[in-house]
Amino acid sequence: MSAQTKTITVTIRYFALLREETGKASETLTLEQGTLADLYKHLQERYKLSLPIGAIRAAVNNRFCSWQTDLGEGAEIVFVPPVAGG
């Protein structure tokens, strides 16, 4: 890994099935800069998450974003499992 690799710190909130599978409501992680998709794949492996990326949506700083979004320092991230309100 080169010295050039930039790291960022992000906060992630987990809800519903993701909260149960990770065992936490939120966490702050320092990781290599990348996209939302990179982050979810990382977490998927780490926590053996059952939901595929195609089943969920993601929001950064309270806005739904595409999986290709580059994460910035201090980003607040929510992964949204399939919803079932009402």
Binding site: A16, E20, P52, A55, V80, V83, A84
Partner: protein
Amino acid sequence: MAENNCTLKTTPGYFAVSEHIIDVAALRAALGSEADGAVVTFEGIVRNHNEGKPVRSLFYEACSELAQGEAEAIFQEAEARFGLTRIVCVHRVGALNVGDTAVFVGVSTAHRGESFDGCRFIIDAIKHRLPIWKKEEYLDGSSNWVNCQCREDSP
């Protein structure tokens, strides 16, 4: 209700996520103006069954901040399409029992057609778009996060 109204300046709507029993009468009182001829309300109630399985209780969880923004977007769309004068919506979170109201949607308009269509549009959008999750607990002791078993859902 006052504390959240300030977040909805651009719409005629009020939205909240609440841990408390939904006071339907109080929400109804916020609907209607002198120009309105129709008020339509919808309540989603915890049923004692879902897809054939007897339900004992439900647990709802929400991401309130995201839900608020999404509700505002839904209300603006509903206002534009159906000319709704007032919109009030509260979604319950936490542990609910059979018979409890999980969600209330109330709208008012000049004419009844728009009230029915607008109310229906809003509850459909809420069910599909708001970051709110439902865990059903069945009489047999098992439980399930609704919609989270279809593993290959497309977005």
